[in-house]
Amino acid sequence: MWETIINAAGQTFYMVFWSTLLSVIIGFVPAVILTLTANDGLRPNKVVYEILSFIVNVFRSFPFIILLIIIIPFTRFVAGKSIGTTAAIVPLTVSAIPYIARIFETSLRETDKGVIEAAKSFGASDFQIIFRVYIKESIPRMLNGVVLLIISLIGYSAMAGTVGGGGLGDIAIRYGYQRYNTEYLVICSLILIVFVQLIQMLGNHLYKRLS
């Protein structure tokens, strides 16, 4: 039993780690574009903002389990197969990108307008303002967003598990629920609770240190 569970915990970690990393890197780009083109941004552009914002909303409004299925061809194209732990990273990442993009956008736009004006007054370029002011000032808020993302990805990874991704959620369902093995269900749930608690604690600690 323990071997199965430890193995599954490893799979959960693997899926969550890679989908977090990838979505943070990719989601950063639309977040910056949204921040730049928002009406209070450095380069206000209603058309670009509204289109991008619409796309983000569309992807966010798909229930994960449906997104998981409709992007199977894409998953196969990227990962080479549609089933398995590695393949599960694709839908997890796709659903996480708009989520983290929105969170980063909100974090960035919370930057004090006065500080941005001050940077402008010293002749800073838009590029410098993005990196040296917006991002610099928003790092603690963005980190909070990543913690939120990791926690919801742990939840989603349980669903991804049911389509062959493995992981703790999958074990809990297959061994615990379907085979009436309550022990599995309890242990898997406990491990997930501990995971989430640890990540939240780590996040809070880092937030305090960084801000």
């Binding site: 004090d112 500080v115 004006e117 940077a119 007054s121 010293f122 000032e137």
Partner: protein, 321 residues
């Protein structure tokens, strides 16, 4: 020299600045005063190109401020430091890094010995050597503004723009910041433009001042001229009332400027003319350590001519109310 020539700006069909022409000389401390909404902060932002203007011209040292020419504009901005009402420091940078930030925007190596020396000197100038590595949240309002001043000076500007820089500070801290600005003006020869709604600021440091209302310059001159003998709008702004003046006899207001405020005109006049009158209202104010004031006296109708002639003789400005 900063020249504003017929500058106009509209915002959503509302005229924010209507036909403003001001010339600010090198090395002077120039005040722009008015109520909030008068357009003074917008005017200041037009000077360093944070905000565009619709027509007219703004020239700084002969160069046109044009928001469309970004390269040229940022070079002009480098020559103008700016400080703000809310300090606008980066919360996550310490005092040293906040001061160093504009250098980074200009690709100046902040690790070089000259840069380090310069940053440290500026922090010393504003009196914060012991707070070099404190974060803004560990500083008081006055200290934050000092950091902002050091930051505004790090690119060796010729001009310092102050947008309500003391409005968020206590009166005693305000005085400290103002004397620091005065010191910077004197020792470094930096032209300072102060936008404020506080009379105290203008009185304490400005050599010349413009009074702005509804986007127009209604009065310009030395602060003492503007405030001792104010026009109607300035009077309203100062919320100054001469109180209840007697309804019989004649009320004459006397204005004391440079030369006349030292002389005991009032008592001398009573003795010389051998008449009596009552003093109904008065005020004395400090302007950059000179005292100016005005006084209202109530005289009998038959004495009016005599008194007016006497005052003219003594070169005291007066006005029958």
């Amino acid at each position: 020299m900063i020249e504003l020539i017929h500058v106009k700006k509209e915002f959503d069909n509302l005229e924010v600045l209507s036909d403003i022409s001001i010339t600010i000389n090198d090395h002077e401390i120039y005040g722009i005063i008015g109520q909030s909404g008068a357009g003074k902060s917008t005017l200041l932002r037009c000077i360093n190109g944070l905000v565009s203007y619709d027509s007219g011209e703004i020239r700084v040292g002969g160069e046109l401020v044009d928001i469309k020419d970004k390269k040229k504009l940022s070079l002009l901005q480098k020559r103008m430091g700016m400080i703000f009402q809310n300090f606008n420091l980066l919360n996550r940078l310490d005092v040293y890094d906040n001061v160093a930030l504009p250098m980074k925007f200009w690709g100046i190596d902040t690790k070089s010995p000259e840069a380090i020396k310069k940053i440290k000197n500026l922090i010393e100038l504003v009196g914060l050597s012991d707070k070099m590595h404190s974060l803004p949240r560990e500083l008081s309002g006055g200290q934050k503004q000092r950091v902002a001043i050091a930051r505004a000076l790090v690119l060796d500007p010729e001009i310092l723009l102050c947008d309500e820089a003391t409005s968020a500070l206590d009166p005693s801290i305000t005085r400290e910041i103002l004397s620091l600005l005065q010191k910077i003006n004197k020792e470094m020869g930096i032209t300072i433009i102060v936008v404020t709604h506080q009379m105290e600021v203008v009185k304490q440091i400005c050599e010349r001042v413009s009074f702005l209302k509804d986007g127009r310059v209604l009065a310009e001159g030395k602060p003492e001229e503007l405030f001792i003998k104010p026009i109607k709008e300035v009077k309203q702004f100062l919320q100054e009332e001469s109180g209840h003046l007697p309804s019989d006899g004649v009320n004459i207001q006397l204005f004391f400027t440079d030369e006349s405020s030292d002389e005991p005109v009032i008592t001398k006049m009573a003795r010389d003319l051998n008449i009596d009158y009552s003093i109904c209202w008065g005020k004395l104010e400090d302007f950059r350590s000179n005292v100016f004031g005005s006084l209202v006296i109530n005289v009998k109708n038959e004495d009016q001519d005599n008194i007016c002639r006497y005052l003219d003789d003594k070169k005291v400005l007066w006005e029958v109310l």
